[in-house]
Symmetry: C2
Subunit: 223 residues, 2 copies
DNA sequence: AGCATAATCGGACCAGTAGTCCGCATCCGT
DNA sequence: ACGGATGCGGACTACTGGTCCGATTATGCT
């Protein structure tokens, strides 16, 4: 039995924010040996799988993304998909992380108004603007991800990160507010099918605008 | 081929609010013949299926509700489940409708503050109180239903009914408010897994209380 | 009670999907 | 070039939602 073949993605392949990829040359604890960089064929296949998934999503939505189809379109075996991403949910999660990585980094360490240093209210609105843009441009992926990863949404490190950020900003701007719940409520509107339902070609940012108004109502008058 | 055996639930078996069961003795259009009341064995089996579903939900959550298990526990064949409820989604939908029927009737034609005649603000809070109680008592069912019926949530007659009710009340209390979106946002918090995540034995109504505060913030100061 | 008809039944069967795994193939450092 | 580590693929498995037709049951009428 080969542990590496247990169809658990290796830590380096897990793209969740709580499991940020470590430098590949860092010694793995306990192995006394440098960890090898991802092989060229593995890297190639990983990208092929992500691109195939995107294409299937665009063609037929989440229900069209079966792993047989992904593997066939990417030109790899099904086992390769599982080795890289662990599961169907892991695959969709990886794609969504790819799409939101920049926003996350900007929130953690970018310049104001998105990054640290801006007043809480401004920072919240900048964040909602960024997240809204991603959600509007990836509503199909968002819907598929929600369905695939429904099992423990509230334990998911990504969700916990966004939730923590929103509730911290709400609390900073309005001490005493039920920030925990309201952050959940704001994030609950980032529902792929709702966004698709509300968004028209003539008004592609309607969703984000509505979320911003909702957040403003929650915060009450500026003062 | 026998049309009645097409695994579409007969209109009488559809419990959606837009398809309220008609009296069983009413002539079916075009048949020129009185429609027969549901047979005793069919009625018995229908209840057995619903009770079996409830039990499985209670024992192991939504993932535990496979139709094989439902049929076995109810002591019926799988075909019987499909004949009665059309699909897995239809089954969960029937159970949820059963749980919310009284609220719906009270909203449509009950006394104030839930029914017509109460001021919009009061009526909204009364409604959220009722819906919150149902959701808190049925969070596992709600989560299972959401997963099973995700396909066209925003076209579902039940959802459309609740959404219409909430947005009408919001609009009546605050003309100019983005009532359509905010009604979606309020209903988005009625997420079975969120309710389970937030609810503790020591504070079973925390969720509803938080939703009420959110609605109050949306409406702004009473005037 | 008996009969005829309509309604209902069940579980074998089917297609599809997520996921598993082992003999074989390829990569990459020395 | 070699050897060890890594990676591969597709046959296979288990499970699930859903289908269907010969058999059974319920019910109204005489």
């Amino acid at each position: 039995m080969r542990p590496h073949d247990r169809y658990r993605p290796r830590p380096a392949d897990r793209t969740g924010p709580a499991n940020r990829p470590r430098p590949r040359t860092e010694p793995a604890p306990g192995t006394g040996r440098a960890q090898r960089a991802e092989r060229a064929d593995a890297a190639r296949n990983r990208l092929a799988v992500l691109r195939a998934t995107e294409q299937l999503l665009a063609e037929g939505g989440g229900d069209h993304v079966s792993l047989d189809r992904v593997a066939a379109l990417a030109g790899v075996g099904k086992g390769t998909v599982f080795r890289r991403f662990g599961s169907r949910a892991g695959l969709l999660q990886a794609l969504l992380e790819e799409r939101s990585r920049e926003l996350r980094e900007a929130v953690v360490s970018g310049p104001p108004p998105l990054g640290p240093g801006a007043p809480a209210r401004e920072r919240l609105h900048a964040f909602l603007d960024g997240l809204g843009a991603i959600a509007e441009g990836n509503a199909v992926l968002l819907a598929a991800h929600e369905q695939a990863c429904a099992e423990d949404k509230y334990g998911d490190p990504s969700y916990l990160f966004w939730h923590g950020h929103v509730s911290a900003l709400l609390a900073a701007e309005r001490p005493g507010l039920d920030a925990d719940f309201l952050a959940h409520a704001v994030l609950a509107t980032f529902d792929g099918d709702l966004i698709r339902h509300l968004t028209t070609p003539g008004d592609p940012r309607r969703f984000t605008r509505s979320v911003q108004e909702m957040a403003a109502a929650m915060l009450g008058p500026a003062g």
